[in-house]
């Protein structure tokens, strides 16, 4: 599980920097990656919302599917938030650096 997170979440972000690419390209790749990651978090949320709506309307859906979708959405969001906090922390750390 940890492998899958590390392997898939961070490798794409780190790779461009390790090869010799221009800073602008690396930035482009990273922002692209960030955008996609945030989109995926949003997709999970939307999926969870749709399922919850179906549950409320009494449509044909299983309760466990709703609960799993909501948990997945919540965990994805949690991960994104946690990652954002770390990045902000790092940024502030850099800003505080004596030059």
């Amino acid at each position: 599980m940890i492998d899958s997170v590390k392997g898939n979440l961070f490798s794409t972000a780190v790779q461009p920097a390790s090869q010799s690419v221009k800073p602008a390209e690396a930035q482009q790749a990273f922002s692209q990656f960030l955008k996609e990651a945030i989109n995926k978090v949003n997709t999970e949320q939307v999926k969870s919302d749709i399922m919850t709506e179906k549950l409320a309307k009494g449509e044909n859906i299983d309760l466990h599917q709703v609960m799993i979708a909501s948990q997945k959405a919540s965990i994805s969001l949690q991960l994104a938030l946690e990652a954002r906090n770390k990045v902000i922390e790092a940024y502030q750390e850099v800003m505080r650096m004596q030059v």
Partner: protein, 130 residues
């Protein structure tokens, strides 16, 4: 980004199977006294039936029926036609259904418990062990 591993997928499939099975068992037990009722069973689909499902129908008219269902499911519900358990044409074996019910309940609970474990360990990691 693959945050949720293959195990999650397997657990979800298991839960789907278990809840479908619960529906079928309750239907069978509800009809334990109904004359000429044939008991139903749920199976995981075999490779063959998966292959059959993906067969394309040769349609000469757009209004012809397709072979494929709109939402392909991984399970198969069959009728127990060849068994006669009661005198009135009913093929429900109540003892078997009740034991299936108990087993299914435990199976479901076990799956939920494992899923909770996986979710909790993920949450733990995300919180950084705090």
């Amino acid at each position: 980004m693959k945050l949720f591993s293959h195990t999650f997928h397997v657990l979800e499939q298991g839960l789907d199977y278990s809840s479908l099975k619960q529906k079928v068992i309750s239907h069978n037990i509800a009809n334990v006294d109904t004359p000429n009722y044939k008991a139903k069973e749920v199976h995981f689909k075999t490779e063959l039936s998966n292959a059959l499902q993906s067969l394309e129908a040769y349609r000469t008219h757009p209004k012809h029926f397709e072979f494929k269902k709109k939402t392909p499911s991984n399970f198969l519900v069959t009728m127990r036609n060849d068994v006669l358990y009661n005198h009135n044409g009913n093929s429900v074996d109540i003892d078997k259904e009740m034991s299936n019910l108990a087993a299914n309940q435990i199976y479901y609970n076990a799956l939920v418990e494992r899923l909770n474990g996986k979710f909790n360990s993920l949450k733990n990691v995300i919180r950084g062990g705090k």
